[in-house]
């Protein structure tokens, strides 16, 4: 008898809760976008977080609500990205590969020295001493901090003590951009042929005194550029790569060879 009451009581409790929960789940059902699950199914599921979302589920939610671009997942293959884009009726914008670009080609031949430096052979350390031993305070110090920072071995130092970027090896990770104490690196599209290889914001005369190839802000390139991509900003020529279409007028008119042309994947050639 006692067993029976026990079974009945517990059974009743279980049944009541079961039915109650079943009803509740119907009543409080939340509509979830079926695409969410599909996107999640396509993702690698490693929850690495490099996309900027909180795990793969967070990424799927953000993509659905449009907060993150469709192809933000760094781990997925291109096919998977296209499937996700198809699911959402969006298109993936083709991205152009970028590469690190050094905005200085002074080197030890063309830039004078301010003093003899004999401290730690590191740009960050040298930069602490009167902003480095080079006469140009904007230019490359040449101790290869960027080359050591590059995880892909894409940067080597040449005989002029200037870093040379191997465009094939460069993945545009941005480590060198962060490592350079003079902020000389930027990431430029590999499709562009011409580059201003100077970062000096000094007036023309001051630049000429210390460097043979520094930008003197004469403005010839700005006038010569038919597209308007070239601008002189703070005594320095700057190319807007969104506009530039590789005409090379700036390269031909530059009187001090600040503007370089990329040849054989090498930025170092000067007219």
């Amino acid at each position: 008898m006692e067993i029976l009451t026990a079974i009945l009581t517990l059974g009743a409790l279980g049944a009541i809760f079961g039915v109650g929960l079943a009803i509740a789940s119907k009543k409080f059902a939340v509509h979830i976008d079926p695409r969410l699950e599909k996107i999640q199914g396509l993702l690698p599921g490693s929850n690495c977080g490099t996309c900027g979302g909180a795990g793969c589920f967070g990424f799927a939610e953000s993509v659905l609500s449009g907060k993150l671009p469709v192809d933000a997942c760094r781990v997925s293959e291109d096919e998977v990205k296209e499937q996700i884009a198809k699911l959402l009726g969006k298109k993936i914008e083709k991205k152009v590969k970028k590469t690190a670009l050094l905005h200085c080609h002074g080197g030890n031949k063309r830039v004078k020295d301010k003093f003899n430096y004999s401290g730690i052979e590191d740009c960050v350390a040298a930069n602490l001493v009167l902003q480095g031993p080079e006469a140009c305070v904007f230019g490359c110090i040449g101790f290869g901090t960027c080359a050591r920072a590059c995880p892909f071995g894409a940067i080597t130092m040449n005989e002029e003590e200037l870093p040379v970027v191997n465009i094939d090896k460069c993945t545009a990770c941005g480590k060198c951009v962060a490592a350079c104490p003079k902020f000389l690196f930027s990431l430029a599209p590999v499709t562009k042929t011409y580059a201003v290889r100077c970062k000096s914001r000094d007036m023309g005369k001051a630049v000429m005194e210390v460097c043979a190839v520094g930008c003197i802000a004469c403005g010839k390139c700005e006038k010569a550029c038919p597209t308007g991509a070239m601008k002189i900003i703070d005594n320095l020529a700057v190319i807007d790569y969104h506009i530039c279409d590789n005409r090379g007028e700036c390269f031909r008119v530059c009187p001090v060879n600040t503007i370089a042309k990329k040849e054989n994947k090498d930025w170092s050639s000067v007219r």
């Binding site: 006692e2 026990a6 009581t9 517990l10 409790l13 109650g20 929960l21 509740a24 409080f28």
Partner: protein, 188 residues
Amino acid sequence: MNIGQFLSIFISAVFIYNVILSRFLGLCSFIAISKETKPALAMSLAVMFVTTMSSVITWFIYRFLLVPFNLTYLRTISFILVIAAFVQFVEMVIRKISPPMYRFFGIYLPLITVNCAVLGVAVLNVDMFFVNGKAVAGSFWYSAFQGICVGLGYTLAMLLMSGIRERLELCEVPEAVKDFPWALLSRQ
């Protein structure tokens, strides 16, 4: 029912018989979520809510179902059943009513279902406030209050531990005892 009783429940549940530090209940979530203060606090709030509500519900189950039918030996299984069903229900309701709150509590609620601290409070209430199968005067209020106080004790332990562990992140720790072993060591 008097104020002194409430005070003694408070002091014993929060400080003397702290659910984590003295009774060693609910250690799983305690170790898992005490890495940073913010989620630790969120978890603590969720636990406090569930301990309080489950104290109330299990009191009703015990008083009006198990005691009259002489089934007090079924308390463990029936309490588990009640708590699990209740937490499930709360999760559904929160999910429907307030998505931000669901995101805040949602991941912790399933963890709480199987948290022994919650069952511990229910069993403790029954042990303390039912004498010879009869409810002590005011036992309902004592039970509910003990639920709150155990939640407070859990919060206290969580805050202390997360504070310690946030500091430990900056310490040099031997490779062999990193993360969980170190957390277990530091709670001693």
